[in-house]
C-alpha cells in the first residue's frame, strides 16, 4: 500500500482543532494559567483562615498598618485586619460579581439581540433605538446614581437594604442592567445574517416555530462570537465593580472586594504604600489575563485568522 496516503481513522474534532489554535497564542495560554492560579489564590482563603486562625473581618485598632509578620503574612490594613486574607476573600467577591453580572447581562443581551434580529421590522427598530440609547449614556455617573439608590424607596425592607447581601446583589444587578449592549448587537447582526439562509428557510417551511429556529439554528451559529464577547465582558465588569466599590457605591465593608480595599487610598499612599499596590495589581493582572484569553479564543474560533 505504499504511495497511498492513509487517512487517519478519525478526523480531528472541532474542539481539538480550536484548542490547537488556542495553544499557538502564547499570551492567551499564559493568561489561562495565571487565571487558574488566581482562582486558587482566592480559594486558599478558607484553608489559610483555619490554619492561621484569623477572621478576615475582625478589626484590631491597636494593630493598624502592622508590617508583615508570622501571623499576618502581608501585614494588616487600616483597621488592623489581615491584608492577605482580605485580598483572597475580596478576590472571590470580585470574580463572583464579574461572572454573575456578565451572565445576567449576557442573557438579557442575548434575548434582546435574538428578538431584534429574528423578528426585524418595528420590534427591531424599537429595540435597537433602545440599545443605542443605552450605549451613549455616560456610564460611570449613571452607575453611581444607580449605586446610590435608596432600596427602601423601591419597597425593600430596611434590614435587607443595609445587609451585605443587598450590597452584593445591587452591584451585580446594576452592572448587568447597563452592560448588555455589545452582546445584543452582536447577536442581532448574526441573527439577521442567518435567518435569510436557505437552511433556516427550509426549517421554517417545514413548520419550525421561531423558538425552535432560534434554539436550533441561530444560537449555535452565533455561539463563538458570543463566547468571546462574554469573556471580554467579564474583564470589563470586574473593572466596573472595582471602580464602584472604590468610590463607595459597590460592595460595602466589612465585606472586602479588591475595589473597596483601596477606599482609603489617600491615607494608604502616605502611610502604607504596599497596601495601595496589592489590590489594584490583582485587578490589573486579572483583567489583562481575561482580555488575553478573550483574544486567544477569538483567534482559535476564527478559521481565517493566522498566527504570524
Amino acid at each position: 500500500m505504499s504511495g497511498i496516503a492513509t487517512l487517519p481513522d478519525r478526523a480531528i474534532s472541532v474542539g481539538r482543532l480550536r484548542w490547537r489554535r488556542f495553544r499557538t497564542h502564547r499570551a492567551a495560554v499564559a493568561s489561562l494559567i495565571v487565571l487558574a492560579l488566581l482562582v486558587l489564590f482566592c480559594l486558599a482563603a478558607w484553608p489559610l483562615k483555619t490554619y492561621l486562625g484569623i477572621d478576615p473581618d475582625a478589626t484590631d485598632l491597636l494593630a493598624r498598618f502592622d508590617p508583615p509578620s508570622a501571623a499576618h503574612w502581608l501585614g494588616t490594613d487600616d483597621a488592623g485586619r489581615d491584608e492577605l486574607l482580605r485580598l483572597m476573600v475580596g478576590g472571590q467577591i470580585s470574580l463572583l460579581v464579574g461572572l454573575l453580572a456578565t451572565a445576567i447581562g449576557g442573557i438579557f443581551g442575548l434575548l434582546i439581540g435574538v428578538t431584534s434580529g429574528y423578528f426585524g421590522g418595528r420590534i427591531d427598530a424599537a429595540l435597537m433605538r433602545f440599545t443605542d440609547g443605552m450605549i451613549i449614556l455616560p456610564l460611570l455617573p449613571l452607575l453611581i446614581v444607580l449605586g446610590a439608590l435608596d432600596l427602601t424607596k423601591l419597597g425593600f425592607t430596611k434590614e435587607f437594604a443595609t445587609s451585605g447581601a443587598a450590597g452584593f446583589w445591587r452591584i451585580v444587578v446594576i452592572i448587568s442592567i447597563v452592560d448588555w449592549t455589545s452582546i445584543a448587537r452582536l447577536v442581532r447582526a448574526a441573527a439577521l445574517a442567518i435567518k435569510e439562509r436557505d437552511f433556516v428557510r427550509a426549517a421554517r417551511a417545514s413548520g419550525a416555530g421561531p423558538f425552535y429556529v432560534m434554539r436550533a439554528h441561530v444560537l449555535p451559529n452565533v455561539a463563538t462570537p458570543i463566547i468571546v464577547a462574554f469573556t471580554l465582558t467579564v474583564g470589563r465588569v470586574i473593572l466596573l465593580e472595582s471602580v464602584l466599590s472604590f468610590l463607595g457605591f459597590g460592595i460595602v465593608p466589612p465585606t472586602p472586594s479588591w475595589g473597596n480595599m483601596l477606599n482609603n487610598a489617600q491615607e494608604l499612599v502616605n502611610t502604607a504604600p504596599a497596601l495601595a499596590v496589592y489590590p489594584g495589581l490583582l485587578i490589573f493582572i486579572t483583567v489583562i489575563a481575561v482580555n488575553f484569553v478573550g483574544d486567544g479564543l477569538q483567534h482559535a474560533f476564527d478559521p481565517r485568522s493566522e498566527r504570524s
Binding site: 455616560p138 446614581v145 446610590a148 472595582s242 471602580v243 463607595g248 499596590v277 495589581l281 483583567v287 483574544d295
Partner: protein, 317 residues
C-alpha cells in the same frame, strides 16, 4: 445633508427628553429628599410644619407632575439651586465644564497622536517583536483600573519623587499657565494612557486590513515610496472606521474624567457630579448628568457627520 442633520438632531432631542425623565426619576429614588436635609438642621420642625413645607415645595405631588414642572423651568433656563455651592447650578457648571474640557482635550490629543503612531508601527509588521510589545501596552491600557493608575502615579511622581503636585488645579497665589500645566500633567497622562490602549487596537486592526487592499499594492507597484504608501494611501483609508469608533468612545472618556478628576482633586464636571451625588445635591447631580448626556449625544452626531465627510461612498440619506 441639512435634512440628515435635522433628523439626527430631532432623534437626539427625543433621547435627551427620555433620559431627562429617567435621570429625574432615579435621582428621586436616592436616599432622603431636599426636605430631610432642611429638617435635620432644624430640630424644632413639627410634623405639621414638615407636611406644609412638602406641599409648598410640591414634594407631595406625583412624579409625572413634578417632572413636568421641572421640565418647564429647565426649558426656561432655570435648573434650580445647588445645595452644596449655594449658587444656581448653571453657575457651578460653567467653570467645571471648562476645567473638564481642558483635561479631556489635552488627554484626547495625547492619546490620539500616541495611538496613531503606535498603531501604524504595529501594523507594519504584525506578529513581530515591536507589534508584540505595542499589543502588550495596548492590553495593559484597556485592563488597568484608571483610579489605581492614578493612585500609582501619585505614589511614584508626587509622594516619592516630588515631581508633580498630587492634587488641585493651581497653587494659591500663582495660577499662571505653567503652574496650571504642571497640575494637569498627571491627570492628563493618566487619562491618556487609559484611553490609548483601545485606540491602538482600532488603529492597528484597521491599518492591517487596509495595507492588504488592492489599491495599496497598486501604489507600491507604481513605485510609491513606503512612507507615502503607508501614510497617504493606507492611513487615510484606515482612518474612516477609526474616527467613528473614537468619537463613539467619547462617553467612556467622560467616565475616565470622573475618576481622574476625583483622584487628583480637579474641580471638573466629573468630580462635581460625584460630589453632588455623595452630598445629596439633587439639582446639581441632575444638571450635571444631563450635561454629560448632551455632550455624548453631540459627539456621536459629530462622529456620524465626520464619517460621511471622510467616506464619500456613504451617501447621506
Amino acid at each position: 445633508m441639512t435634512r440628515f442633520i435635522l433628523r439626527r438632531l430631532m432623534q437626539a432631542l427625543i433621547v435627551l427628553l427620555v433620559m431627562s425623565f429617567v435621570i429625574y426619576g432615579l435621582i428621586g429614588l436616592m436616599p432622603g429628599d431636599p426636605l430631610d436635609i432642611m429638617i435635620a438642621s432644624n430640630p424644632g420642625a413639627t410634623p405639621e410644619v414638615v407636611a406644609h413645607l412638602r406641599a409648598i415645595y410640591g414634594l407631595d405631588q406625583p412624579l409625572m407632575l413634578r417632572y413636568w414642572h421641572w421640565l418647564i423651568s429647565a426649558l426656561m433656563g432655570d435648573f434650580g439651586f445647588s445645595r452644596i455651592h449655594s449658587q444656581p447650578t448653571l453657575e457651578v457648571l460653567g467653570p467645571a465644564l471648562l476645567q473638564t474640557c481642558k483635561l479631556l482635550l489635552a488627554s484626547f490629543v495625547v492619546s490620539v497622536v500616541l495611538s496613531f503612531v503606535l498603531g501604524i508601527v504595529a501594523a507594519l509588521r504584525p506578529g513581530g517583536i515591536v507589534d508584540s510589545f505595542i499589543s502588550l501596552f495596548a492590553f495593559a491600557g484597556i485592563s488597568v483600573p484608571v483610579f489605581w493608575l492614578a493612585l500609582m502615579m501619585i505614589l511614584v511622581f508626587a509622594v516619592n519623587l516630588h515631581w508633580f503636585p498630587a492634587s488641585g488645579m493651581a497653587n494659591i497665589g500663582d495660577g499662571g499657565f505653567m503652574d496650571q500645566a504642571r497640575h494637569l500633567i498627571m491627570p492628563v497622562t493618566t487619562l491618556a494612557l487609559a484611553n490609548t490602549g483601545g485606540f491602538i487596537r482600532y488603529v492597528r486592526a484597521s491599518m492591517i486590513e487596509t495595507l492588504r487592499m488592492d489599491h495599496v499594492r497598486t501604489a507600491r507597484a507604481k513605485g510609491a515610496g513606503e512612507g507615502r504608501v503607508v501614510l497617504i494611501h493606507a492611513f487615510r483609508n484606515a482612518l474612516i472606521p477609526v474616527v467613528t469608533v473614537i468619537a463613539l468612545n467619547f462617553g467612556t472618556l467622560f467616565s475616565g474624567a470622573l475618576l481622574t478628576e476625583t483622584m487628583f482633586a480637579q474641580p471638573g464636571m466629573g468630580k462635581m457630579i460625584y460630589d453632588s451625588i455623595l452630598g445629596n445635591d439633587f439639582n446639581l447631580a441632575l444638571t450635571g448628568l444631563l450635561f454629560a448626556t448632551v455632550v455624548t449625544l453631540l459627539s456621536n452626531l459629530l462622529a456620524d457627520l465626520a464619517y460621511g465627510w471622510l467616506d464619500p461612498r456613504i451617501a447621506v440619506r
